[in-house]
Symmetry: C2
Subunit: 220 residues, 2 copies
């Protein structure tokens, strides 16, 4: 086991594999080949085999991969064997939807605290999650040992909220605002920009017409 760092591209595919493997298990399939998996997740079968091989020889030649075994393996890799608590900052339109979004249904993650400036909801419980005033954010995050935050605040406050999160030693931020955040090296940012996604989609449609696989290769 060379114990080298997994390529970034591979890492991003792991959750996709993990989820589909669970779907297979739910359907009582205990065995799967890279070709079969390939069709379901739209990733080339060679890429799948290569991805898996970074973790050692997980499959059996002439047979394929054992689904339960693979799931157990990825569960640990992805830290899904323990519950991860996450904070939500900004309980507006989108924030509210995320409170109701059942992350816990297919992953061991849940939003355990939320923060907002709106006095009408502060100190209430929404969808089972307590809403604290923004001013208490640092304290609560430290007390509850929360290391990951989702931010759905107005874009012009995104950076200042981020700075506060940094002070509270948060390690990861899922950023739904369109701003690209400045953070210290200790924090990892993952951007989800809905407007961007739509614009990109439109651009591709208008410029990368039918010619050369609109699909089956590199979806998204």
């Amino acid at each position: 086991m060379a114990e080298q760092r997994i390529p970034r591209a591979t890492a991003k595919r792991l959750p996709i594999y993990y989820r589909y493997l669970n779907i297979l298990l739910d359907a009582d399939k205990t065995r799967v080949s890279s070709t079969e998996l390939s069709e379901a997740v739209k990733v080339d079968s060679a890429t799948i085999r290569r991805d898996f091989s970074y973790f050692g020889a997980l499959g059996k030649r002439g047979y394929g991969y054992d689904v339960p075994k693979l799931i157990e393996f990825f569960k640990k890799i992805l830290n899904q064997d323990q519950l991860t608590n996450v904070a939500l900052v900004g309980v507006g339109n989108l924030g509210h939807a995320l409170l109701n979004f059942n992350f816990h249904q297919n992953s061991n993650v849940r939003i355990s605290a939320a923060f907002d400036v709106n006095d009408n909801i502060v100190n209430t419980v929404q969808s089972g999650v307590p809403i604290y005033p923004l001013s208490e954010m640092g304290k609560q995050l430290r007390d509850q040992q929360i290391a990951i935050a989702i931010i759905t605040v107005p874009e012009n406050t995104a950076q200042e909220v981020t700075d506060e999160l940094a002070k509270a030693d948060v390690r990861g931020i899922l950023n739904f605002t369109p701003r690209r955040l400045s953070v210290p090296d200790s924090i990892r940012v993952q951007n989800v920009d809905l407007t961007n996604e739509l614009q990109t989609l439109i651009y591709f449609i208008d410029n990368y017409g039918e010619l050369l696989g609109g699909n089956e290769k590199s979806q998204d």
Copy 2:
């Protein structure tokens, strides 16, 4: 002008540039350098210059780029000079949030029709958008000439809805379900998987610790 296809990676950055340029203009800045832009959007300055150069010589040496000119240019490239109507399929938790999400605020896109199976909301207007029964989807999409759909339906119905969209000659799908869709070559799919994003973030935090730039390079 070599008129060759823009690299995929470049295309995905265009909306990011476009948005930040607009922010600059709002702040009455009419001039920007690749270095300055680089800091704001977290993309290497050489990459920015190269990206821009695919479209010809847009800047001036020793000066930088003219913001209004650049905006005008990208506006056309990104099809933002005309309104794009989009359909929403599945008006549940997340779907509702997207209806309220103001795409039109920073892009020339709007949701102009929505579809659902829930009789309680079908044939009503939600957030200014009419909700039609799913059974009318094909007809409405064709009548209204809508070529792009956002799907926020339960995952087990994602594929069948997709098949219907394909029949209605939709060209692009923004897929919020965790399933990877099978589509004909004429359709482009862009996936947004929230659970995935969180899992990826967690994985990176646990495995790509501080060492070697948690940030400043390749956010997301």
